[in-house]
């Protein structure tokens, strides 16, 4: 039983990472209706920024804050320069643009920071507790803690501030919001900026916790699991992203433990979950079902 709970904790830790990135995906989808396939590579670039500053003797927490600030600006620039010119284009064009950004950002990261595997320093000491033989690591606690903090900040920003109200209004109906004098473009930029900032935090905490080194491939598998989390929870639901992330993480972990034939193919789990959701509940567990009057 201790092994079950240990794998459960492993899954929750991984799930918190997927949820963090899924939150960023949801944020962009809610504000602009775009599935951002470049989200993982945006986080990758930000994580390399953390490594860059940390390797230049900046304290890790400070490096994370600087990277988050740069990512905030970078995210809004991406919206303004890359996305806005094609925002009215068909969904297929937008998919191609974000996939193009995925490839471009990955290459830019390698050109700028090199393709060596780099050790990203931890922002907190590594420690493991073994109460009743259940393995609980500091990584899991920090990952879950950061996720909770992100949720609270997003909730406060979106539900309790005038700025958040404006963002939600634009997400809900850009035309009416524009008539009311809300700067739609600025709000859309804010959505991308926040998503990039969340990605930076997710990468900077997740890589030292789950991977032995930072490489240009660090975020690729994470993105697949994050997409599964967002699809499971519903692409327009922040709560859904969190619940979806945890479900995917736990499913991955328990599959490794109890279904031996899938232990080296856990990538099957998110695909199976996506397929299941699309068949049974296309809008996800917490997503809003679209109703159209005909």
């Amino acid at each position: 039983m201790a092994l079950f709970f240990t794998q459960l904790m492993n899954g929750i830790g991984n799930g918190a990472v997927y949820a963090s990135l899924a939150l960023a995906l949801v944020l962009i989808f809610r504000t602009t209706g775009i599935l951002n396939f470049a989200q993982g590579e945006m986080a990758l670039y930000s994580t390399y920024l953390v490594w860059f500053f940390a390797s230049h003797h900046v304290a890790v927490w400070l490096a994370i804050l600087i990277a988050m600030a740069i990512s905030f600006v970078g995210g809004s620039l991406i919206e303004r320069v890359v996305i806005r010119p094609v925002e009215k284009a068909s969904p297929l064009v937008l998919v191609i643009v974000t996939i193009g950004m995925f490839l471009a950002l990955n290459s830019i990261t390698q050109v700028q920071f090199g393709s060596d595997a780099e050790q990203l320093p931890r922002a907190y000491p590594s420690k493991t507790w073994l109460p009743a033989h259940v393995q609980i690591s500091a990584d899991t606690l920090v990952l879950v803690g950061v996720l909770i903090l992100e949720c609270l900040l997003l909730y406060f920003l979106l539900q309790r501030t005038r700025l958040g109200l404006a963002v939600r209004a634009v997400a809900s109906n850009p035309e009416s919001s524009s008539l009311l004098g809300i700067p739609v473009g600025t709000m859309l930029m804010l959505g991308w900026a926040l998503a990039a900032t969340l990605g930076a935090l997710a990468g900077a905490i997740a890589v030292p916790a789950s991977q032995p080194a930072l490489t240009a491939a660090s975020m690729q598998e994470v993105l697949v699991f994050a997409f599964a989390a967002a699809a499971l929870g519903g692409f327009d639901s922040t709560i859904g992203a969190v619940v979806g992330g945890i479900i995917v993480g736990v499913a991955q972990s328990l599959t490794t433990q109890y279904i031996k034939s899938l232990s080296d193919m856990v990538i099957v789990v998110p695909f199976a979950l996506i397929l299941l959701v699309l068949l049974v509940r296309p809008s996800g567990l917490f997503g809003t079902q679209r109703v159209e009057r005909v």
Partner: protein, 455 residues
């Protein structure tokens, strides 16, 4: 009739004479191959019926491709990006070696000096990209031979291509034993210790120190991991050692946390990490987090300062094997070969970390390639391949362990059968030898499971 009669009279004698001479020539060739003597014994050691390499079905004009004037162009494909990008360090060592070699005028092959031009391509460890890269290297870059292409499945993917086109695939960066498969004579492994010999050294250690040990095995879900699993299974037969659990992980990634958690729950006495690159320190970290402290063995492909460092305190006392001197050990700094290596790394690849074992492997493999070329009677594909397959014992190549030799023969196609068991010390930051030099010459083939060898 008068003219014909002497011929008839001496006919049987002539036939006997020809047979005797033919037998003597065949015997001479046979003994030459046995001692690995064809490498520098002149053209008689290459081509023809006495050769290990059969060139009868090779494309016309194949032999001299890639040799232009005084330059020999060779090609490699390896991961320079993606999860396995740390293998880029191999290329840094190789390029430094060839720059150094070219600065001395090149390598002497059959009395003529040649410079080496190495063309490298990135395959991100993706076997399908390796196939595309190698096609381009052979058809567009017109390389003389492939050199140190990285990865087991990657080289298996190009196996038919190189063998039907008679392109040497030399010094393959994989210790899998498939490179000893006689159906594919145009391939040869590098100085990496064949995986069954790695397992043999570790199993022997366990038999002596903990004869009733239980073993947990982590393996990559590819031919690389399969080599470790099958070798381990066959080596522990008839002993009191027992594998209590095997877990495999997706070799495309390095996430092994859940697998190691599951292995840790067995509380096995020994842990064999049949993984490579980032999955190695990931496995060690997961092992440490689980509070599990078994006798741990890590693949020889993981012997790197970077990877040991990524494992942190969990890397302490981890076993592995090496055919090379550790460039991170200050005790080796007085060694002349080490000084040559470090001086030239600084000169030609200053951004590389010369104390990393992966860089040292690249440097040594470059030196080994030059040594094979030098031993060849001529700069032709068939002569070089024949030489590589029947190589006289080589010593003091690159950072080769003092006292060890690398050789091949018609019956033994494995180079890296001399090596030492090592253990990493975190506080010292380098590995230390455990026990004497292991001379397993000729043992890799017989020890290997037939299904793997001929698979």
């Amino acid at each position: 009739m008068k003219v014909a009669s002497p011929a008839r009279r001496f006919g049987p004698l002539r036939i006997v004479t020809v047979l005797v001479i033919a037998t003597m020539v065949a015997a001479a060739c046979g003994s030459s191959r046995k001692t690995g003597g064809s490498s520098t014994s002149g053209p008689s050691g290459t081509g023809g019926s006495s050769s290990v390499i059969d060139t009868s079905s090779c494309p016309a004009g194949n032999d001299s491709v890639g040799v232009n004037g005084d330059t020999i162009t060779i090609g490699t494909s390896l991961p320079l990006s993606g999860t396995y990008a740390a293998f880029k360090a191999i290329l840094q060592g190789e390029e430094a070696y060839f720059s150094y070699l070219n600065s001395t005028g090149g390598v002497d092959v059959g009395g003529k000096k040649y410079k080496i031009n190495l063309v490298s391509k990135d395959d991100a460890y993706d076997a399908s990209k390796t196939v595309t890269n190698v096609q381009s290297l052979i058809n567009d870059s017109k390389v003389f031979s492939l050199f140190n292409v990285v990865g087991t499945k990657n080289n298996l993917g190009i196996r038919n291509m190189v063998n039907t086109q008679c392109v040497p695939d030399l010094l393959i960066a994989s210790g899998a034993i498939q490179w000893g498969n006689t159906k594919y004579p145009w391939m040869l492994g590098s100085e990496l210790v064949p995986y069954p010999l790695e397992m043999r050294a570790f199993v022997n250690y366990l038999k002596e120190k903990k004869p009733n040990a239980t073993i947990a095995l982590l393996k990559a879900n590819d031919d690389f991991g399969q080599s470790y699993q099958e070798s381990l299974q066959s080596l522990i037969k008839g002993t009191n050692l027992k594998i209590v659990q095997t877990q495999s992980y997706d070799s495309e990634g390095a996430d092994v946390n859940s697998q190691v958690t599951s292995l840790a729950a067995t509380h096995a006495d020994a842990f064999v990490v049949g993984a490579t690159l980032l999955a190695c320190p990931a496995a060690l970290n997961a092992m440490g987090s689980a509070g599990w402290h078994p006798i741990t063995y890590m693949s020889g492909t993981c012997v790197s300062k970077l990877l040991f460092a990524a494992g942190g305190a969990n890397s302490n006392n981890v076993f592995s094997v090496t055919p090379l001197l550790d460039p991170a050990d200050p005790a080796n700094n007085s060694n002349a070969a080490m000084q040559l290596y470090k001086t030239n790394m600084k000169k030609y690849q200053s951004s590389a970390d010369a104390t990393d074992g992966i860089v040292a492997y690249g440097w040594t493999t470059g030196a080994l390639f030059a040594a094979i070329l030098h031993a060849s009677p001529s700069a032709t594909r068939s002569a070089v391949m024949e030489t590589a397959r029947t190589l006289k014992p080589l010593s003091d190549v690159g950072l080769q362990l003092p006292g060890s030799t690398w050789s091949t023969s018609a019956n033994d196609w494995f180079l890296g059968e001399d090596f030492r068991l090592i253990q990493y010390n975190v506080s010292q930051g380098h590995t230390n030898f455990i026990g004497p030099l292991i001379d397993d010459s000729g043992k890799a083939g017989p020890l290997s499971p037939t299904s793997l060898l001929n698979g």
